[in-house]
Amino acid sequence: MATFTIMRLTFLEAARRRIALAAFLLGIAFLALFAIGFHFMRTETGLPTSEDPGTTLLRSQVFNFLGQMGLYAVNFLTIAMGALVSADTLAGEIASGTIQALVTKPVRRAEIVLGKWLGFAVLLAVYLTLMDGGLMAAVYLQSGYVFPNIGTGLLLTYLETLVVMTLTLACSSTFSTLATGGIVFGMWGLAFIGGFVEQVGALLNNATAVNIGIVSSLILPTEAVFRRAQYAMMSPVARSLGFSAGPLLVVSVPSLAMVIYAALYLLAWLALAVRQFNRRDL
């Protein structure tokens, strides 16, 4: 009950503090830029435009590649949004003291954490759907190209944003807003580099490099999950070739076990967020 009150409060806060508006306008600007860019890439790069069956394969290959670049950018934008709003949510309320009137009500502290988590989860779902949906619509309307496995791909992408948001929330229950930002950004950077090392390692058949990547994925499984999302939405041809030339190499495809790990990882951080917040003097 209180959980949903807090969830609704989170929506209201996003709206009132113009966070939702800022994210929405930024998103629109991005989609517009992408649509224009896609248009020029399609028409001015010598790509055959006729419906010549011989070029269909090449065309879909290029569209997929461009689309994946866009999806990657959207993913980054969503993660940043999720981290920005959740970094300040507990830490900020504790610092300003607004939390005091809330937790002295007959509510469990866990309900406050879960309410905020749910609120952000819904906001991120809406944002991701609008952004990736808008991007895929821009591709489809201009070229008729449809990504494969959209459902799986989007769910995995969503899982990744949830992981980052939950980690941020957990840090925010213990550290200041600024420290939270630093920790999350640092960990994300680590996972990013680690993922890159893993792909290069796989390309060069270097086991050590691959292992470094796997370890970094265990620390923060975001890159791994997103690569699996990319893999799902990759064109079948690229997949059969073993890798795509997307913005991120996908040579070593993270296993399903990694996805399950990411889900458990998320739950563990959520539990930690509740535990830390429960113990804290406010």
Binding site: T98, Q100, K105, V107, D281
Partner: protein
């Protein structure tokens, strides 16, 4: 819930932040229905004590009960109201939304909440600002809406941590009236304030704390009885009369036609007047100055402030 005879009961409640002991050992009993003043210098641990009683801060040692339940009990908080010292609230909410939110968190049924909301907005004088966001509120307005928030659930026990620190004289009187109403309805009020004149008017009993320990606790009445300083304004004060006057009290100071001295208590006043008249002095005024709570505060707590 059976109403316990004590709204608050603590034994050796202690809080240390690292090496810094904020509350050394609070042992306290506040009967239900009492307006209890909690006084002490800055940093004495008043706010920390309230926070422990509300479950905001976990005690390092000791035990306590609030409305018959252990401190921090969730169910008991249904009956508790709290105005925090730094009254910071979600300022992107309107006054109405803010009270509705907090009423919902108390699980109040919607019709009751709606009625209570209008009553309280009216009471704290913010009815015409109910659709304005708290961001546009002045400090005093925020404290008023915070007070409404603390009372929204019709609590059995309300903690007010310096409720008038940001209020104008009208607002202070308003708070006094509200506390009087609360007392009339049997609500226990735990009042933490530095405005002693206010405490003097509103509280039944006061505790003085220093370094997180109760150093003095007594009903306000007995606290303010006893020795009184009296100012005498009279003509024809001969040295003989003055000498006799000095025998009726102590610490006498004479300055022309004005004399001040300390007497045992109010009961000594008629005798003083009779003496002056019988001795032929022309008595213009005889004014007892009650020892103000402020003097007591300094007597009890000391001027070192406890810091």
């Amino acid at each position: 819930m059976v109403s316990p005879s004590f709204a608050i009961q603590t034994t050796g409640l202690r809080k240390a932040f690292g090496d810094n002991v904020a509350v050394r050992g609070l042992t306290l009993e506040v009967p239900a229905g009492e307006v209890f003043g909690f006084l002490g210098p800055n940093g004495a641990g008043k706010t920390t004590s309230i926070k422990m009683l509300l479950g905001l801060v976990a005690p390092t040692a000791g035990t306590g009960q609030v409305l018959g339940a252990p401190v921090g009990d969730r169910a008991a908080r249904t009956q508790v109201g709290f105005l925090p010292e730094h009254f910071r609230f979600h300022d992107w909410l309107t006054a109405e939304e803010f009270l509705t939110l907090h009423g919902r968190l108390y699980n109040m049924p919607a019709p009751r909440l709606r009625a209570r909301l209008s009553d309280l907005l009216e009471r704290v004088g913010l009815m015409s600002f109910r659709r304005k966001t708290l961001r546009t509120f002045s400090k005093g307005m925020l404290q008023r809406i915070g007070l409404a928030q603390a009372l929204i659930n019709d609590p059995a026990l309300v903690f007010l941590d310096e409720p008038t620190s940001g209020l104008d004289p009208v607002g202070r009187r308003l708070v006094r009236d509200i506390i009087r109403d609360l007392r009339a309805r049997g609500t226990t009020v735990f009042l933490n304030s530095h405005l002693l004149s206010e405490v003097e008017i509103t509280c039944d009993r006061v505790a003085f704390i220093k370094h997180g320990e109760v150093v003095h606790l007594s009903p306000l009445k007995t606290l303010l009885e006893g020795e009184t300083r009296v100012t005498v304004r009279a003509g024809r004060l001969t040295p003989e009369i003055l000498a006799g006057l000095a025998g009726l009290g102590r610490d006498m100071r004479a300055d022309g036609s004005q004399v001040t001295l300390t007497i045992e208590g109010e009961a000594a006043l008629p005798g003083l007047a009779r003496y002056l008249v019988e001795q032929g002095a022309e008595l213009y005024a005889l004014t007892p100055q009650r020892l103000a709570l402020e003097d007591l505060f300094i007597q009890i707590v000391g001027t070192d402030g406890g810091l």
